[in-house]
Symmetry: C2
Subunit: 349 residues, 2 copies
Amino acid sequence: MDKTRPGEIPPRPARPVTLRDVAREAGVHVSTVSRVLNDQASAGRITSETEGRIKEAARSLGYRRNSVARALRTGRTLLVGMVVPDVANLYQAGITRGAGDVLLADGYSLILASTDDNLDHAHSHVSAMLGARAEGLLYGVARESDTVLADAIDAGVPVVLFNRGSSQGPVSAVLPDDRMGTRLAVEHLLSLGHRKIVHVAGPEDVSSTVNRLEAFDDTLGAAGLAGLHRFSERQTEEEGERLTRQLLDQYPDTTAVLAGNDRLALGAIDAIRASGRTCPVDVSVVGFNDMPYSERFSPALTTVRISQYDLGALAASLLLKTIVDPGRSPETRLVAPELVVRQSTAAAR
Amino acid sequence: MDKTRPGEIPPRPARPVTLRDVAREAGVHVSTVSRVLNDQASAGRITSETEGRIKEAARSLGYRRNSVARALRTGRTLLVGMVVPDVANLYQAGITRGAGDVLLADGYSLILASTDDNLDHAHSHVSAMLGARAEGLLYGVARESDTVLADAIDAGVPVVLFNRGSSQGPVSAVLPDDRMGTRLAVEHLLSLGHRKIVHVAGPEDVSSTVNRLEAFDDTLGAAGLAGLHRFSERQTEEEGERLTRQLLDQYPDTTAVLAGNDRLALGAIDAIRASGRTCPVDVSVVGFNDMPYSERFSPALTTVRISQYDLGALAASLLLKTIVDPGRSPETRLVAPELVVRQSTAAAR
DNA sequence: TGTGCCTGAGCAACCGTTTGCGCAGATGCA
DNA sequence: TGCATCTGCGCAAACGGTTGCTCAGGCACA
């Protein structure tokens, strides 16, 4: 007489309900319960009467499948790891969102970790993800040479890089089209009459930095010009300000700054202001990414837009395809950028 | 002769290396390997020679512990679920970061999910987390009456609410001190001479909305005034603009807007601008949260600051304590707010 | 030399599911 | 009636670790 009558509060299960409990309640074997609850009733040829009884028992007992046990048996965890420099970074948060939505649609959950671009942090996070037998890895902190990434590839887990590429191994990647984006930005500045342009670049061993710098030099070179640059280790407003200040001190006739991303661009604007100049009147600034609220900054930021949501979603769907078909050959997908002209750029004086 | 000689590339393991493989390599029983790899060599009284041999075997084979199998046996997954309305929301991203850092320090990984404030999404995410046997839940989408939350509590998993409280059950929570924050904001407006103040509030059945509205009315009431308000279903700039427009149309002599959060505040500023008025000259606006870059908006936002990182970190550490001691009685912690006065508020004309 | 204790490791059950195979009864067909 | 086939479900072996218990050998001590 331990059935729950309507109106009674079912006793809170001290230990979670297992298949065995449901089987006992329904008077069948656990394997039968398993088949019914996995919608293999037809394949297992279960009577619809039995099926109904089992489902009712599961419902009334509050059975919830133990994914841990299932994963141990089947090898499928429905977990995917995602590694970003900082979830609190607006640009990355958008990517995370895109990836999360795509994964959810396929029933996967997302283990998310921030590394602060620290290799040790990356190592412990990835190690935990591989230990948890995540079925795939979305890796957004790749360096040109990256031991953590090498480990993951070695472990045989499907990996898709995003944002930053790497020559570490044969692995798929979803990247901004850095060259095209940079070309759009530089040509915009050139068309405004700028000739003294500097580049506040990202970290030196990150693929985006390398590509953007090359495109910067190439595009200027094609116009018979040369540009100067500085690398930043951390892509923060403070770094952007510090480096821009250095560049302005050293090359006072600079009229435009191309920043490696929007945060560096904000720092550049701070430095311009601190030097007594005005953006865009004296110095123009172009950012990269078009992070949220770029249009609300003062001045509103001219920047190269990368669709963050799409990039994340694309990376996730590529990963899912690789999980399904591990033999799939790696591919690199470039996300097309778009120049968004706002208030931080103006004609050169 | 299948030992790896220095310089040789170890063959990539087709199937992950198991304890059994290590045991075979070291010539001992799996239980001995398990004890050594869990640093229970002393408790298990293993010779340091044996210990060394086992560790060397594990290293050379590239053994990685299978957390799934371990979790099945021990019941500990080292996983925590976190549910937010939208990871791409700046305010929430900061909280996520704080929680993630605290959890990492204790060896936990974070399963993160966005629900868009949709109950069905919340249900499937939480269901997946409970299925994965997450050891605890950080729940940031609570409604006053919340069936998903009720389910989780029912399942017996430790839960800590953040941002939004709920009367759904006895459960710990880390919340902004909404009343104090609101009082600070309203008193600031009053001291600037504002008398016609409206409130663009959040969703009606969210605790923060209720508390802020009460404090809004109370503080105005204490000054012998009354304020008007509108609830928003989604806390977006668009909603903020729409509702503010309604309020301005209906009460054209409004001189100040208190917004339920910064995004609504941005929308309010848009509406003010669209109506041909200027913020803060004609109408002042106060936000809530002090989300990143609030100081860079135009005008820079006067707002009530909640330390997002601290709030997330506090919620996580409270959850960890509850996991260790499930008998712990629930507690609610209020995070003290701070008024940050910037450019969006000015004296009433 | 006999007894008892300590040392160092192995044995085997168990965690909760999944799944290939087996089996008894029923049914169909000759 | 005899035999083959089908139906509906049970059996038991995994999956990879963890852990209480056992046990053989060695040593100290009387």
